[in-house]
Symmetry: C2
Subunit: 413 residues, 2 copies
Amino acid sequence: MFADAFASDPTALGWMVGSPPPADRLVRFEDGSFFRFPQWRWSFSHWRELVPTVNVARGSGPVSLLPNMERPELDAVMFVPLGGTRPMSWAASLAANYTDGIVVLHKGRIVYQRYFGALAPERPHIAFSVTKSFFGTIAATLIAECTLDPHATVAHYIPELRAGGFADATVQQVLDMTAALKYSEHYGDASSDITSYSRAAGYLPRPPDYAGPRSDYEYLATVPKDGEHGAAFTYRSINTSVLGWLIARTTGKPLHQVLQERIWSRLGAEHDSYLHIDSNGTAQAAGGLNAQLRDVARFGEMIRLGGRYNGEQIVPTNVLEDIRAGGNRAAFAKADYPTLPGWSYRNQWWVSHNRHGAFMARGIHGQAIYVDPKAEMVVARFASHPLAGNLNIDPTSLPAYEAIAAHLLAHAD
Amino acid sequence: MFADAFASDPTALGWMVGSPPPADRLVRFEDGSFFRFPQWRWSFSHWRELVPTVNVARGSGPVSLLPNMERPELDAVMFVPLGGTRPMSWAASLAANYTDGIVVLHKGRIVYQRYFGALAPERPHIAFSVTKSFFGTIAATLIAECTLDPHATVAHYIPELRAGGFADATVQQVLDMTAALKYSEHYGDASSDITSYSRAAGYLPRPPDYAGPRSDYEYLATVPKDGEHGAAFTYRSINTSVLGWLIARTTGKPLHQVLQERIWSRLGAEHDSYLHIDSNGTAQAAGGLNAQLRDVARFGEMIRLGGRYNGEQIVPTNVLEDIRAGGNRAAFAKADYPTLPGWSYRNQWWVSHNRHGAFMARGIHGQAIYVDPKAEMVVARFASHPLAGNLNIDPTSLPAYEAIAAHLLAHAD
């Protein structure tokens, strides 16, 4: 059992307050305390204070308008959590899944916006694997521009990986996470490969006697093949690290610069964002983006609008049509996600195939962008749930989003 | 002999370019390469990519105007380097002392502005000990507001230091660096105390078997007394760390917040700045500020104008009168700086007592703010000189500033 959202409130617990903070209120990278609950309710909103980061500038243009038309009645919208029987209100769901911040856009207007715990509108929060959807969108754009060949192999672009498991996986297989690799991603299990990867890439501190790879790319070369590429969807963050490498290699630019040039500086963002980097300076495409929530919502709105936002076509429309159409549902079904029946995965996006055609960016501990084209709704959420997997968060969020979408469709503002 | 400014140009050398950068072009914190010449010509403009940092926000107000009235004739202004006989041009001096960027304000207008190497107008650069003058100004302001008593001892405010050398030093002695301590600050000498301090505070990587203090504050408690406080000026960065602690303790706020609230958010800065922090989250008052050069120039202009800038009194006028009047010249003379005859040190500022009443903020490797009240001139400079001490940089900068000041006084625009 974990302390609930109120009992684990990072402000009430006083993490890192004082000069110096008391020993039992320190949150540090080097001793791993930054990545423990409830400390991470503070860490997720203070990532750059823990690790090296690189800035992603908003540019010098004006901020794009998100008109505020708050609809307080949303708090009372009811839904039944997945697997449950008792209805829950939208307002109650926010604490139930340890929400740090949530923004709901309807037709491009902010209809709901709340911040909790250590978060505030002007403070960046780590997006974790929501980052993947940013870089998946960029990679798909490079494919549309014929810079990346989706059928070419990873080794074709990255000879450094020709001896490893990624060598003969195609770019599209990496994008859709159907590369077959001997690599497990079980958060909370210290013997899982995600732990070794995290130590190499700088997400976790290294033991004093550490002798493993010292960068994201070094680690990728060590991953063996396990089976046939293309057969099954298996969620592995290292696919996105390879994707980041492919983007950097084919554009000839560092990832943070590509994100800045192609997306961040075009959104009319309120703030710069930033990326966690490893000791090679490589930005963590799989999970390193930190941004303010309204700016993440702007990205979601751009995606909802078929790539056209803030006066320009930021992503080609056909790239977003392809994502919305989804991936291989049979391959996805093999991963057996109980909360995602009938879903698929395409270009680093999770596609629901529900009646509204909703699709998502999803990150551990409850990070999310939920795009509902039919309801003209975008939800952007940051959270700090005590458990990593969205399996624990979906029950109080997916049906809540659907209920809000239905409400917005039924009750014109 | 070191490669000159052109041969050591960090852009030409291609540090951290490539995915990944070639092994001989990596600049990393963990192996110490970030703090070697010529690598640091890159590092100083990419500090947050190497270490944890905390943001210092510019706030939401408009940018304060720095009208551009460039005077290209300044390039040809001649001066004789200290100890030299052959005249040198202002333009040549910039390369001679490895300038990364320089802004000259005259009556609040930009009359000269150049960026070299890895620097660009929108890129922050580490200010090193120029940071001290920001926090010295803040501490002096707290004294003026009667929040800090200059005659009280360090132990009065910080009981954690009551067993160490700082215990009975007064606040003013710490501000003026006349505390008598067993602590040497010889850059380039690995056995100097500055190395131990830097490892504790997170400026340098720790050896694998490291068992020393793990934070700035922990280190400060270990420094013994050596002599009588108040007798002599000795430049020791740990004074400013104690000063930072005094500011945080008496305001009840973290240093980065104090800097943001009292100075940075009031200047009409173009950009946020940021501070290097240790693993306790303590901002490095002695040298951790990273900022864009024009914003540092804005701070200098505020200082020149007696604290009034951007429509408000940011620092009390009497604080700046006190700084301009200087410190104890006899105490300063004992430090025997060959390039600074007749100077003094007051509240973390270096005071020339020359005919123009010029005073400076000074940081290793050539960081500087030079305020010339008579000439109504402010120079802000970032540099990446191969040698730490300003002894190596003063000969081609102090007389150059004086020559530019004389030129601006003599030739009205």
